[in-house]
């Protein structure tokens, strides 16, 4: 078998990479690229540069480390970081365990009107954040709220929910759990439905109890979905703003101030964008570290 002579490639000898470059695709994405550069890339660079300027001195301020050295010694920043981590360590595990239980329940064939339940648990997410925050403020009002009404009618003492640090944090955690559990449950439900029935059938034949099935089959196979929820929740918590801003107003004192509300306070109340940029970069760095750690710990594929 003889190989046919290859046709000579007619390539102009002098043409460089530019001429060889197919232009059309780049022209098509050019508008996006320009917008991306102007509204995404430039602000990211610009805020990094700004974090080295004391923006309170006006436009002529020299570059320096003032914001970063303030960040290191800033007790308020530490408080915000601590509060955020408390929410992360308490609320996220609580919410994800609830969501998993809920997803399993919603997936059960014993459940009637499953569609209705799925909607009901997803519904809190449809409610506007501002509206639900206002409702929570009312529910937990010390003098007029229904929660204290209920407590006192049961003979329990009323709690000054929003004016004490511990209770204020509790309200925040309850509110966020109420709002986001259903959302995570729906994601996990989708994950559950991807698990083949055959596995469970095989397990039942081998005599595994439902409890064993949950621990040995459901949870391991659900891991990618759980990881997805976990990463989303962690990043969401690090950016947490609406609830502490609207339900507790970061208070009492700074008891429920998060990185998000502190960033906002510095940026938009004190109009100190330089310092706010330094905070923003720190939050982004923490989020990145957390995500990498989670992917390393839970994301390994067997």
């Amino acid at each position: 078998m003889t190989t046919a002579p290859r046709p000579a490639v007619t390539r102009p000898a002098k043409a460089g990479w530019w001429a060889r470059l197919p232009k059309a695709p780049y022209l098509f994405i050019l508008p996006y690229l320009l917008i991306f550069l102007a509204f995404w890339a430039w602000p990211i660079v610009s805020s990094f540069l700004m974090s080295f300027k004391d923006s309170r001195l006006g436009a002529a301020a020299p570059y320096g480390m003032a914001n970063w050295s303030r960040l290191i010694s800033d007790e308020f920043f530490r408080t915000a970081l601590r509060n955020t981590l408390v929410i992360l360590l308490v609320q996220v595990p609580l919410m994800l365990s609830l969501a998993t239980a809920l997803a399993v329940a919603l997936n059960s064939r014993l459940l009637r009107a499953a569609g209705w339940f799925r909607f009901a648990f997803f519904a809190p997410l449809v409610v506007g954040t501002v509206a639900y925050s206002a409702v929570f403020r009312l529910l937990f009002n010390t003098d007029f709220g229904i929660v204290n009404r209920a407590l006192t009618s049961l003979g329990l003492p009323a709690v000054d929910w929003l004016n004490q640090s511990g209770p204020a944090m509790t309200v925040l955690i309850l509110a966020m759990t109420w709002r986001w559990t259903g959302y995570n449950a729906i994601i996990l439900l989708a994950g559950l439905q991807g698990i083949s029935e055959d596995v469970y059938e095989a397990a039942s034949i081998d005599g595994a109890t439902p409890w064993q099935q949950f621990w040995k089959i459901t949870l391991p196979l659900l891991r990618p979905s759980l990881l997805f929820c976990l990463v989303l929740s962690v990043i969401g918590t690090l950016q947490l703003f609406t609830e502490p801003a609207l339900i507790t107003n970061s208070g009492p004192g700074n008891a429920t101030m998060t990185l998000g509300t502190y960033l906002y306070q510095q940026g938009f109340r004190s109009f100190n964008f330089g310092y706010a940029s330094a905070i923003a970069y720190t939050v982004a760095a923490i989020a990145a570290i957390f995500s990498v750690v989670q992917l390393r710990l839970f994301g390994r594929d067997e």
Partner: protein
């Protein structure tokens, strides 16, 4: 000589015609009741300048601040002709964006200096420039429920010091079994009681040169001690802005201390309590001490980007620098004039039906001259944030003494602002 007279007549004629020939539109940004008050001065303005159309836009307080900062940051884009600004927040603008607003001295505001009390100008001037004209002020006063005081056997005219006030509160607690308090303090959410009391004692976060942190001076120490004493004696409850309103509406608060602009808040939120309320001066820290203070108050500025600055200034002059304009706003929305001549207006000496026919405006305005100067500076929000926390911690018992708490506050404010703590 004749020539000179003729010339001056000509000059007069041209300026007069220039005034009446003002035309175009003046857009005003303001908020809530303040916007309604400005709106109420438009008819008198249009009598003088029929060709100027005034467009008052109610953006809400926070929005005015946010959009103003954004507009200034963008070099004056999308700014109105007249901009409302709170005194406490004013210096953020002058410090970060000195070119964003017109120096009103160039429009003739330097001639009006003596028409307003000195403390109102402190925050509105920077580097010799006069960036805004004083509008309303917030002389602090104690609003009280006549009926509840009477039932508890408390005589408001006998309350002269904070100790008297605490004694009255104990009577109130005894009478109503603790169900009715003598006030609501926003501990943990705000530090306004501390600020009112500190100002009364001639102390504030910063000195009037905005060069030093002075929050640990004796006047402030005294103020913080009083706040704790009030809470410890349980004569006041804790609650934020909304909680305070709910409380007096429900009849659980027998008095409220605020800047006098709170008059409208009480009157419009509890119309059914008409005739039951009255007013007395805030108690002093010691017998014979100052019974005046200031909380809040605003000003009007003209952004440099305004295309119609002459008409905008004419609007400012009519609304703020005439008794008629200021009293119109007092009548419509209870905005307390800072123009000194407005305090002599006959309306001020009339009894007010809602307030049991008491001449409350006289009581309130009479304190204006006693208000000690204080300056928010561009670091007001940073300092306030520190003080809210320190106050709450002090009340909780985290510090041994008020002095220790305020030394800590001073250190924190200093590290946040870069200003030294005063020796």
């Amino acid at each position: 000589m004749k020539k000179f007279a003729l010339l001056s007549a000509l000059v007069l004629a041209t300026t007069a015609s220039a005034q009446s020939s003002l035309s175009g539109t003046v857009t005003v940004w303001s908020w809530d009741a303040a916007a309604k008050a400005l709106e109420s001065t438009v008819p008198s303005f249009n009598k003088k300048y029929p060709n100027v159309k005034v467009n008052v836009v109610d953006l809400g307080n926070q929005n005015v601040y946010d959009r103003g900062l954004a507009g200034c940051a963008a070099g004056g884009v999308d700014m109105p002709d007249v901009y409302s600004i709170e005194n406490n927040e004013a210096e953020v603008f002058w410090a970060r964006f000195p070119d964003c607003f017109v120096d009103l001295n160039t429009k003739g505001a330097d001639k009006l200096i003596r028409n307003f009390p000195a403390f109102k100008w402190t925050e509105l001037t920077a580097n010799g420039k006069r960036f805004a004209m004083p509008w309303d002020s917030g002389p602090v006063v104690m609003f009280y429920r006549r009926d509840l005081y009477q039932q508890a056997g408390v005589n408001p005219t006998a309350i002269k010091t904070w100790d008297d006030f605490i004694a009255a509160g104990k009577k109130m607690n005894a009478k109503f079994g603790g169900k009715v308090k003598l006030g609501v303090i926003a501990n943990g959410q705000d530090d306004e009681w501390f600020r009112m009391l500190a100002n009364q004692n001639g102390c504030f976060y910063f000195d009037n040169d905005a060069a030093n942190v002075t929050v640990n001076k004796p006047g402030c120490v005294d103020a913080l001690n009083t706040v704790k004493k009030l809470l410890a004696a349980q004569v006041v409850a804790t609650g934020d802005w909304g909680g305070q309103i709910t409380s007096f509406k429900a009849g659980r608060t027998a008095s409220a201390m605020f800047g006098a602009w709170y008059e409208g808040t009480i009157r419009t939120n509890a119309p059914d309590q008409k005739g039951k309320w009255g007013v007395y001066q805030m108690p002093a820290s010691r017998a014979g001490g100052v019974r005046a203070s200031n909380l809040g108050g605003s000003a009007l500025a003209i952004p440099s980007a305004s295309k119609n600055q002459a008409a905008a200034y004419a609007f400012l002059e009519n609304a703020l620098a005439t008794s008629n304009g200021q009293v119109t706003m007092l009548k419509s929305q209870g905005l307390v004039p800072s123009l000194l001549s407005a305090t002599k207006d006959p309306y001020v000496n009339q009894g007010q039906a809602y307030w049991g026919n008491q001449k409350i405006w006289k009581t309130i305005l009479d304190t204006l001259g006693d208000v000690p100067q204080a300056r928010g500076t561009q670091y007001f929000q940073d300092a306030r944030q520190v003080m809210i926390v320190v106050q709450a911690d002090f009340v909780k018992g985290k510090y041994k003494t008020a002095k220790e708490a305020l030394d800590d506050a001073a250190r924190k404010i200093s590290s946040a602002t870069g200003l030294p703590v005063a020796k």
